[in-house]
Protein backbone atom coordinates (compact mmCIF):
# COMPACT_ATOMS: atom_id res chain seq x y z
CA UNK A 1 0.00 0.00 0.00
CA UNK A 2 1.30 3.42 -0.92
CA UNK A 3 1.80 6.27 1.51
CA UNK A 4 -1.51 7.44 2.88
CA UNK A 5 -2.39 11.04 2.11
CA UNK A 6 -2.40 13.17 5.24
CA UNK A 7 -5.79 13.46 6.78
CA UNK A 8 -7.49 16.79 6.50
CA UNK A 9 -10.45 17.71 8.61
CA UNK A 10 -12.60 20.67 7.82
CA UNK A 11 -13.02 22.53 11.06
CA UNK A 12 -15.16 25.47 11.94
CA UNK A 13 -12.98 28.58 12.49
CA UNK A 14 -15.33 29.46 15.34
CA UNK A 15 -13.65 26.67 17.32
CA UNK A 16 -10.75 29.04 17.82
CA UNK A 17 -12.84 31.78 19.39
CA UNK A 18 -14.95 29.52 21.57
CA UNK A 19 -12.49 26.86 22.73
CA UNK A 20 -8.83 27.63 22.13
CA UNK A 21 -8.98 31.24 23.18
CA UNK A 22 -11.04 30.77 26.38
CA UNK A 23 -8.87 27.90 27.60
CA UNK A 24 -5.66 29.86 27.03
CA UNK A 25 -6.99 33.00 28.71
CA UNK A 26 -8.29 31.03 31.68
CA UNK A 27 -4.95 29.25 32.06
CA UNK A 28 -3.03 32.53 32.05
CA UNK A 29 -5.41 34.19 34.48
CA UNK A 30 -5.29 31.17 36.80
CA UNK A 31 -1.53 31.32 36.80
CA UNK A 32 -1.58 34.98 37.76
CA UNK A 33 -4.20 34.33 40.43
CA UNK A 34 -2.15 31.47 41.80
CA UNK A 35 0.92 33.66 41.97
CA UNK A 36 -0.85 36.31 43.99
CA UNK A 37 -2.62 33.72 46.15
CA UNK A 38 0.72 32.20 47.12
CA UNK A 39 2.09 35.65 47.85
CA UNK A 40 -0.88 36.50 50.05
CA UNK A 41 -1.11 33.15 51.79
CA UNK A 42 2.55 33.00 52.68
CA UNK A 43 2.49 32.77 56.45
CA UNK A 44 5.00 34.93 58.26
CA UNK A 45 7.79 33.06 60.00
CA UNK A 46 6.64 31.81 63.33
CA UNK A 47 8.17 32.93 66.57
CA UNK A 48 10.47 30.28 67.99
CA UNK A 49 11.01 29.70 71.69
CA UNK A 50 14.37 30.80 73.00
CA UNK A 51 15.82 27.36 73.86
CA UNK A 52 14.74 25.93 70.52
CA UNK A 53 16.28 28.87 68.71
CA UNK A 54 19.47 28.39 70.67
CA UNK A 55 19.58 24.76 69.61
CA UNK A 56 19.13 25.61 65.94
CA UNK A 57 21.55 28.49 65.89
CA UNK A 58 24.35 26.68 67.71
CA UNK A 59 24.07 23.81 65.26
CA UNK A 60 24.28 26.29 62.40
CA UNK A 61 27.27 27.85 64.09
CA UNK A 62 28.95 24.46 64.03
CA UNK A 63 28.16 24.02 60.33
CA UNK A 64 29.44 27.49 59.53
CA UNK A 65 32.71 26.87 61.32
CA UNK A 66 33.11 23.54 59.57
CA UNK A 67 32.48 24.89 56.09
CA UNK A 68 34.50 28.08 56.46
CA UNK A 69 37.50 26.77 58.32
CA UNK A 70 39.83 27.87 55.54
CA UNK A 71 39.49 31.54 56.35
CA UNK A 72 40.48 31.06 59.99
CA UNK A 73 44.01 30.90 61.26
CA UNK A 74 45.09 27.61 62.75
CA UNK A 75 45.03 28.60 66.44
CA UNK A 76 41.73 30.38 66.13
CA UNK A 77 40.16 27.41 64.40
CA UNK A 78 41.51 25.04 67.03
CA UNK A 79 40.05 27.12 69.84
CA UNK A 80 36.64 27.18 68.15
CA UNK A 81 36.73 23.49 67.43
CA UNK A 82 37.60 22.58 70.99
CA UNK A 83 34.90 24.77 72.43
CA UNK A 84 32.20 23.59 70.06
CA UNK A 85 32.98 19.89 70.25
CA UNK A 86 32.89 19.88 74.03
CA UNK A 87 29.68 21.88 74.08
CA UNK A 88 28.07 19.64 71.47
CA UNK A 89 29.12 16.44 73.14
CA UNK A 90 27.95 17.53 76.57
CA UNK A 91 24.62 18.67 75.14
CA UNK A 92 24.92 22.22 76.43
CA UNK A 93 22.72 23.66 73.71
CA UNK A 94 19.91 21.12 73.80
CA UNK A 95 16.35 22.35 74.04
CA UNK A 96 15.49 20.09 76.97
CA UNK A 97 18.64 18.44 78.29
CA UNK A 98 16.82 15.96 80.51
CA UNK A 99 15.21 14.28 77.49
CA UNK A 100 18.58 13.26 76.09
CA UNK A 101 18.76 9.77 74.70
CA UNK A 102 15.02 9.28 74.58
CA UNK A 103 13.33 8.64 71.25
CA UNK A 104 11.94 11.78 69.61
CA UNK A 105 8.36 12.70 70.23
CA UNK A 106 5.64 11.77 67.80
CA UNK A 107 5.49 14.58 65.24
CA UNK A 108 1.70 14.41 65.14
CA UNK A 109 1.40 15.59 68.73
CA UNK A 110 3.82 18.47 68.35
CA UNK A 111 1.92 21.70 67.60
CA UNK A 112 4.96 23.23 65.93
CA UNK A 113 5.15 20.36 63.48
CA UNK A 114 1.47 20.66 62.61
CA UNK A 115 2.05 24.24 61.54
CA UNK A 116 4.67 23.30 59.00
CA UNK A 117 2.37 20.65 57.55
CA UNK A 118 -0.43 23.16 57.28
CA UNK A 119 1.82 25.40 55.21
CA UNK A 120 2.63 22.53 52.89
CA UNK A 121 -1.04 21.62 52.64
CA UNK A 122 -1.93 25.19 51.71
CA UNK A 123 0.67 25.21 48.97
CA UNK A 124 -0.57 21.91 47.59
CA UNK A 125 -4.15 23.09 47.70
CA UNK A 126 -3.25 26.19 45.70
CA UNK A 127 -1.88 23.83 43.06
CA UNK A 128 -4.56 21.16 43.15
CA UNK A 129 -7.82 23.05 43.37
CA UNK A 130 -7.51 25.21 40.25
CA UNK A 131 -6.16 22.31 38.23
CA UNK A 132 -9.02 19.97 39.08
CA UNK A 133 -11.51 22.78 38.57
CA UNK A 134 -10.20 23.65 35.12
CA UNK A 135 -9.94 20.00 34.13
CA UNK A 136 -13.55 19.34 35.01
CA UNK A 137 -14.61 22.62 33.38
CA UNK A 138 -12.96 21.61 30.14
CA UNK A 139 -14.35 18.10 30.35
CA UNK A 140 -17.88 19.39 30.85
CA UNK A 141 -17.95 22.09 28.22
CA UNK A 142 -15.37 21.28 25.62
CA UNK A 143 -15.09 17.52 25.43
CA UNK A 144 -15.36 15.90 22.06
CA UNK A 145 -13.96 18.71 19.93
CA UNK A 146 -10.95 18.30 17.72
CA UNK A 147 -9.25 21.65 17.65
CA UNK A 148 -5.63 21.44 16.59
CA UNK A 149 -3.11 19.30 14.82
CA UNK A 150 0.31 18.75 16.29
CA UNK A 151 3.11 19.72 13.93
CA UNK A 152 5.09 16.59 14.68
CA UNK A 153 4.10 12.94 14.50
CA UNK A 154 3.69 10.93 17.66
CA UNK A 155 3.04 7.30 18.34
CA UNK A 156 -0.36 5.71 18.65
CA UNK A 157 0.03 5.40 22.42
CA UNK A 158 -0.72 9.07 22.90
CA UNK A 159 -4.02 8.73 21.13
CA UNK A 160 -6.02 7.95 24.22
CA UNK A 161 -4.50 10.91 26.02
CA UNK A 162 -4.67 13.48 23.25
CA UNK A 163 -8.04 12.48 21.90
CA UNK A 164 -9.89 11.94 25.14
CA UNK A 165 -13.59 12.19 24.43
CA UNK A 166 -13.16 11.71 20.68
CA UNK A 167 -13.57 8.01 20.11
CA UNK A 168 -12.61 7.71 16.47
CA UNK A 169 -10.49 4.75 15.55
CA UNK A 170 -9.04 5.89 12.24
CA UNK A 171 -8.04 9.40 13.20
CA UNK A 172 -4.36 10.34 13.12
CA UNK A 173 -3.04 10.68 16.70
CA UNK A 174 -1.70 14.10 15.74
CA UNK A 175 -5.14 15.60 16.01
CA UNK A 176 -5.72 16.81 19.50
CA UNK A 177 -8.76 17.62 21.54
CA UNK A 178 -9.32 20.49 23.94
CA UNK A 179 -8.03 18.62 26.99
CA UNK A 180 -4.66 18.13 25.35
CA UNK A 181 -4.49 21.81 24.55
CA UNK A 182 -4.97 22.28 28.28
CA UNK A 183 -1.96 20.06 28.95
CA UNK A 184 0.15 21.95 26.44
CA UNK A 185 -0.76 25.23 28.14
CA UNK A 186 -0.06 23.70 31.53
CA UNK A 187 3.53 22.95 30.60
CA UNK A 188 4.27 25.67 28.11
CA UNK A 189 2.98 28.89 29.62
CA UNK A 190 6.06 29.47 31.76
CA UNK A 191 7.35 32.12 29.37
CA UNK A 192 4.13 34.12 29.69
CA UNK A 193 4.46 34.20 33.45
CA UNK A 194 8.12 35.05 33.14
CA UNK A 195 7.12 37.98 31.02
CA UNK A 196 4.17 39.13 33.11
CA UNK A 197 5.19 38.45 36.68
CA UNK A 198 8.95 38.56 36.72
CA UNK A 199 11.10 35.53 36.70
CA UNK A 200 10.67 34.10 40.19
CA UNK A 201 6.95 33.57 40.13
CA UNK A 202 4.60 30.87 41.34
CA UNK A 203 2.39 31.04 38.29
CA UNK A 204 3.39 27.90 36.50
CA UNK A 205 2.46 24.66 38.12
CA UNK A 206 5.77 22.90 37.66
CA UNK A 207 8.05 25.74 38.68
CA UNK A 208 9.03 24.01 41.90
CA UNK A 209 7.98 25.15 45.32
CA UNK A 210 10.33 28.07 45.73
CA UNK A 211 12.95 28.33 48.41
CA UNK A 212 12.26 25.70 51.01
CA UNK A 213 13.37 26.10 54.56
CA UNK A 214 16.19 23.70 55.36
CA UNK A 215 14.51 20.74 56.86
CA UNK A 216 17.23 19.91 59.34
CA UNK A 217 15.22 21.03 62.34
CA UNK A 218 12.07 19.33 61.25
CA UNK A 219 9.93 17.36 63.62
CA UNK A 220 11.02 13.92 64.64
CA UNK A 221 14.74 14.60 64.30
CA UNK A 222 16.86 13.88 67.31
CA UNK A 223 18.80 17.07 68.00
CA UNK A 224 21.26 15.29 70.26
CA UNK A 225 22.28 12.93 67.47
CA UNK A 226 22.76 15.86 65.12
CA UNK A 227 25.02 17.53 67.65
CA UNK A 228 27.10 14.39 68.08
CA UNK A 229 27.49 14.04 64.32
CA UNK A 230 28.46 17.66 63.95
CA UNK A 231 31.06 17.33 66.72
CA UNK A 232 32.54 14.38 64.90
CA UNK A 233 32.61 16.28 61.62
CA UNK A 234 34.41 19.14 63.29
CA UNK A 235 36.91 16.84 64.89
CA UNK A 236 38.02 15.19 61.65
CA UNK A 237 38.76 18.40 59.72
CA UNK A 238 42.33 18.74 58.59
CA UNK A 239 42.93 22.43 58.87
CA UNK A 240 44.63 24.61 56.29
CA UNK A 241 44.30 28.27 55.56
CA UNK A 242 43.73 30.04 52.26
CA UNK A 243 46.59 32.29 53.22
CA UNK A 244 49.09 29.42 53.02
CA UNK A 245 51.54 30.18 50.21
CA UNK A 246 49.81 33.44 49.46
CA UNK A 247 53.15 35.16 48.78
CA UNK A 248 53.96 32.55 46.18
CA UNK A 249 50.67 33.06 44.41
CA UNK A 250 51.03 36.82 44.53
CA UNK A 251 54.50 36.69 43.03
CA UNK A 252 53.33 34.36 40.30
CA UNK A 253 50.42 36.65 39.51
CA UNK A 254 52.74 39.63 39.21
CA UNK A 255 55.21 37.73 37.08
CA UNK A 256 52.65 36.67 34.49
CA UNK A 257 51.42 40.21 33.98
Amino acid sequence: MAQLPPQTIQRDPQLFYWILFPITVVMILTGILRHYATVLMASPPKKVEQPALKEQRSLMHGVAVRSNFHVLTAPSFKARREFLTTAFESGAYLKDPERRGQPPANPMTDPGAMDGMMGMMKNNMAMMVPNTLIMSWINTFFSGFVILKLPFPITIKFKSMLQAGVATKEMDPRWMSSISWYFLCYFGLQFVFNFLLGSDNDGAADAGNGPQAPNMFGPGVDADKQFQAEAENLAVIKHYSVLDDVEQRLLEGIKTR
Binding site: L20, V71, L148, L150, P151, G188, F191, D200
Partner: protein, 118 residues
Protein backbone atom coordinates in the same frame (compact mmCIF):
# COMPACT_ATOMS: atom_id res chain seq x y z
CA UNK B 1 37.59 21.82 36.65
CA UNK B 2 38.84 23.87 39.59
CA UNK B 3 39.32 22.06 42.84
CA UNK B 4 37.62 22.88 46.10
CA UNK B 5 40.74 24.58 47.26
CA UNK B 6 40.74 26.92 44.28
CA UNK B 7 37.15 27.83 44.99
CA UNK B 8 38.19 28.73 48.50
CA UNK B 9 41.02 30.90 47.26
CA UNK B 10 38.89 32.63 44.64
CA UNK B 11 35.34 32.45 45.96
CA UNK B 12 32.29 32.76 43.74
CA UNK B 13 29.34 35.09 44.27
CA UNK B 14 26.19 32.96 44.29
CA UNK B 15 23.96 36.00 43.71
CA UNK B 16 25.79 36.90 40.55
CA UNK B 17 25.59 33.34 39.28
CA UNK B 18 21.85 33.36 39.88
CA UNK B 19 21.48 36.74 38.22
CA UNK B 20 23.36 35.69 35.10
CA UNK B 21 21.60 32.36 34.77
CA UNK B 22 18.24 34.03 35.19
CA UNK B 23 19.02 36.64 32.57
CA UNK B 24 19.97 33.95 30.08
CA UNK B 25 17.07 31.60 30.81
CA UNK B 26 14.53 34.41 30.69
CA UNK B 27 15.84 35.44 27.31
CA UNK B 28 15.75 31.90 26.07
CA UNK B 29 12.20 31.17 27.20
CA UNK B 30 10.98 34.36 25.53
CA UNK B 31 12.82 33.78 22.29
CA UNK B 32 11.72 30.14 22.24
CA UNK B 33 8.11 31.24 22.05
CA UNK B 34 8.95 33.63 19.20
CA UNK B 35 10.66 30.79 17.36
CA UNK B 36 7.51 28.76 17.85
CA UNK B 37 5.50 31.48 16.16
CA UNK B 38 7.95 31.58 13.27
CA UNK B 39 8.02 27.80 12.91
CA UNK B 40 4.24 27.70 12.91
CA UNK B 41 4.03 30.33 10.18
CA UNK B 42 6.61 28.54 8.10
CA UNK B 43 4.61 25.38 8.57
CA UNK B 44 7.54 23.28 9.66
CA UNK B 45 6.82 19.72 10.64
CA UNK B 46 8.49 17.13 12.86
CA UNK B 47 12.28 17.04 12.50
CA UNK B 48 12.70 20.28 10.60
CA UNK B 49 10.78 22.07 13.34
CA UNK B 50 13.04 20.80 16.09
CA UNK B 51 16.09 21.50 13.96
CA UNK B 52 14.82 25.06 13.47
CA UNK B 53 14.49 25.44 17.24
CA UNK B 54 17.99 24.19 17.98
CA UNK B 55 19.62 26.29 15.28
CA UNK B 56 17.89 29.46 16.38
CA UNK B 57 18.54 28.82 20.07
CA UNK B 58 22.23 28.44 19.38
CA UNK B 59 22.07 31.60 17.27
CA UNK B 60 20.50 33.41 20.23
CA UNK B 61 23.22 32.20 22.53
CA UNK B 62 25.87 33.40 20.10
CA UNK B 63 24.18 36.79 19.86
CA UNK B 64 24.00 36.93 23.65
CA UNK B 65 27.69 36.13 23.78
CA UNK B 66 28.65 38.83 21.31
CA UNK B 67 26.57 41.56 22.92
CA UNK B 68 26.65 40.76 26.60
CA UNK B 69 29.64 38.56 27.36
CA UNK B 70 32.28 39.35 24.80
CA UNK B 71 32.93 43.08 25.33
CA UNK B 72 34.00 42.83 28.94
CA UNK B 73 35.29 39.28 28.82
CA UNK B 74 37.68 39.94 25.94
CA UNK B 75 38.87 43.12 27.60
CA UNK B 76 39.78 41.24 30.74
CA UNK B 77 42.07 38.96 28.77
CA UNK B 78 39.97 35.86 28.29
CA UNK B 79 39.97 34.07 24.98
CA UNK B 80 37.14 34.11 22.47
CA UNK B 81 34.11 32.03 23.47
CA UNK B 82 35.40 31.81 27.02
CA UNK B 83 32.48 32.53 29.32
CA UNK B 84 34.21 31.86 32.63
CA UNK B 85 33.86 35.48 33.69
CA UNK B 86 30.09 35.21 33.95
CA UNK B 87 29.22 31.52 33.99
CA UNK B 88 30.63 28.66 35.96
CA UNK B 89 30.86 26.13 33.18
CA UNK B 90 30.79 26.33 29.40
CA UNK B 91 28.05 23.73 29.37
CA UNK B 92 25.80 25.90 31.52
CA UNK B 93 26.11 28.73 29.05
CA UNK B 94 25.76 26.90 25.75
CA UNK B 95 23.35 24.14 26.59
CA UNK B 96 21.66 25.15 29.83
CA UNK B 97 18.63 26.89 28.36
CA UNK B 98 17.99 24.68 25.36
CA UNK B 99 15.49 22.46 27.08
CA UNK B 100 13.97 25.15 29.27
CA UNK B 101 12.30 26.83 26.35
CA UNK B 102 11.21 23.69 24.55
CA UNK B 103 7.76 23.52 26.18
CA UNK B 104 6.96 27.10 25.27
CA UNK B 105 8.25 26.49 21.78
CA UNK B 106 5.99 23.50 21.26
CA UNK B 107 3.02 25.44 22.59
CA UNK B 108 3.33 28.38 20.21
CA UNK B 109 4.46 26.16 17.38
CA UNK B 110 1.31 24.04 17.69
CA UNK B 111 -0.88 27.10 18.08
CA UNK B 112 0.36 28.91 15.01
CA UNK B 113 0.66 25.76 12.97
CA UNK B 114 -2.96 25.07 13.78
CA UNK B 115 -4.05 28.61 13.01
CA UNK B 116 -2.17 29.05 9.77
CA UNK B 117 -2.15 25.61 8.25
CA UNK B 118 -4.67 23.03 9.09
Amino acid sequence: MPTEREFQVAPIVPESVMHNTKALSNLQSLTASIFGVAAGILGLESYSGFLFYFIFTILTTILFYTFRVAPTSLKSGLGAFDTSRYFRTQYEFWAGGVFGGLAGYILTWTLFYGLVRA
